[in-house]
Symmetry: C2
Subunit: 360 residues, 2 copies
């Protein structure tokens, strides 16, 4: 029996560029992954046009899911959700809901994508709020999973615990870390160590049965001190964008120095293979594809400015999540936590009985 | 008449290394800045020993302020403040309080340094909470001032407004930015734009009379979109350490690629002048020296791991702050804000009168 096909629905209209990125990326991805079938959501005529000229893959690698509307990068959640009910985003998420696709991917407006996929797919039992998680390359040569990156601004300690469960499930299934270590992002040696929510979350994490490492600081993300870094969406979003900003600045400064004068340019030519290797290692396109966790379906968000190369990585992340059982992994992680909490409750009840009942 | 001398008190015992860093750095600094006199706080015999062998500068460039105790990097604020009343930190801050020094510098434990300098010097009128500010190099070739970096974890909108006033005063006096632009660190296009405190702070900033640019995102720090980025101490601390972590990773990867094999090493030798220039530009030692703002005295915090070169920059920052009138600048910025708030109150009262009193 052949392996079951993996079906990924793609919002072909989303992102800063849209079709000229999504369709060629889908084609290239299908070529490299013959076990995949792609459901292309969007304006059918425009998709057909974008498909023209792409090489025949010798199989029916795609199917078009017609959608008459497009959520723009500036549309509010309200508009995206209530006024554009036949958007390519909505159609892609609906394909997962209907069991026609195993995962869906969009490079569109993050807020809209989160709202639509949450509305269509609903959250998993035991999860109040979905979270956005991504991988950040670290000094150990691996990647650190970080969440939440902006879905939730004001979080309680319980929310941070839920993020830890989802992040742990992502790292153990997709990245194959056995019992991933979890770090809680906090501040270090400064005046006051952490706010109240973080302190409470640390308490919850200590008794959660997860592999809780303890508090980590900002520099631990790139050091790779832990497999998963948990924080609220405000902090995560600001941190992610700050390090992206620094990476861009470093790249720009490097370019500037190697093109400053003839001698520097000559040095640049000679050092090119080394600089290329360096660039490959820090190329964040290879880490494109954030996971919207906590939903009853696999939902991936590509960077809005992704090119076809980067978008391919987001598709790869969707395929990996399906193949490696992210959904089942998350559900069973939630179950395990529940059991360990129940066991703890039973134990403390028994303890209370032991104390109150005098020994015979 | 000769220019008045600038007197800087130095906690010579503080930091990861202490005397072998602080004393040679002080000597080198005094050599380069003949208008400076340094007050070396710490164990007198140990300071004398560290001074041995340093070249004579042909003037009395230093004075020793004996202190019998040392605040360690692990000491709690409680211990530093209540149990070590004759620490080199305390003696350095006291020198400013007594008018014997114009500024004080320590590379010791941040929490302790903040608590001691606050206890000894008190806060300026109109400032509830001091804040920690530093400069981060940006793509425009300048530096972005960012605060708070960890002194205050749970902040109100009013606190953020006070940080903006202090940051604006720092940028206008020390960095000579005329009417510095202020950005409020927030999250972008994601689901929910900012938490309640940030939204309220934006309102306050809009009517503050400061040059408020609006919200900025994490990547704007290195882009140099605004002169001053304001955030709470939790976010600021995590962001600063995250970008420090990425910078270290990039440097390590670069080293690894240029030493991978004989060919790469040869390329590294040829590209050395370019790589050195690049390294100089991103060398964060040149940005050492965070300012503890909002106190009745100039207080600078050096990185704990600073070497003598980096510690010299912290001393430079202290000298600049004195010479360029940071304290007076901050006090008058607070006054200006008060006046503009009063004017606004008068205006709205008049407006209320106009409305309630029917026209004659």
């Amino acid at each position: 029996m052949s392996k079951p096909e993996i079906r990924i629905a793609i919002d072909c209209m989303g992102g800063d560029i849209g079709l000229p990125v999504t369709v060629p990326a889908a084609h290239q991805f299908a070529k490299q992954n013959p076990d995949t079938r792609l459901l292309l959501a969007g304006n059918a005529a425009a998709i057909e046009a974008a498909l023209k000229g792409l090489a025949d893959l010798g199989r029916q690698w795609y199917e078009i899911l017609p959608a008459s509307e497009v959520v723009t990068m500036d549309d509010s959640v309200e508009i995206a959700l209530r006024r554009k009910k036949d958007s390519s985003m909505r159609v892609a998420a609906q394909a997962v809901k209907d069991g026609r696709a195993d995962a869906c991917v969009s490079a569109g407006n993050t807020g809209a994508w989160m709202a639509i996929s949450r509305y269509v797919l609903k959250t998993l039992d035991g999860i109040d709020r979905p979270a956005i998680a991504t991988s950040i390359p670290n000094q150990k040569g691996g990647a650190t999973t970080m969440l939440d990156l902006g879905a939730n601004v004001d979080c309680t300690a319980e929310h941070l615990l839920q993020f830890a469960i989802m992040g742990s499930a992502l790292a153990s299934t997709v990245d194959r870390h056995e019992r991933p270590t979890i770090g809680l992002l906090n501040i270090g040696e400064e005046v006051i160590k952490g706010n109240e929510v973080v302190k409470q979350a640390a308490e919850l994490l200590r008794s959660s049965g997860l592999n809780f490492y303890g508090n980590v600081e900002g520099d631990d993300i790139c050091k790779g001190t832990v497999d998963v870094v948990v924080c609220d969406g405000f902090v995560g979003n600001v941190v992610l964008k700050s390090i992206e900003g620094l990476a861009k600045m470093v790249a720009a400064m490097m370019r500037a120095e190697f093109t400053r004068d003839a001698l520097s340019m000559a040095a640049g030519v000679l050092a090119k293979p080394v600089l290329d290797r360096f660039r490959d290692r820090v190329d964040n396109r290879r880490y494109n594809g954030a996971a919207l966790l906590g939903l009853r379906g696999i939902v991936i968000k590509s960077h809005g400015s992704a090119d076809a190369y980067a978008f391919g990585y987001a598709l790869q992340r969707a395929r990996d999540a399906v193949r490696k059982g992210l959904l089942e992994g998350t559900a069973s992680a939630i179950d395990r936590l529940r059991q360990s909490l129940q066991a703890a409750a039973v134990q403390s009840a028994e303890l209370a009985n032991d104390v109150s009942d005098p020994a015979p």
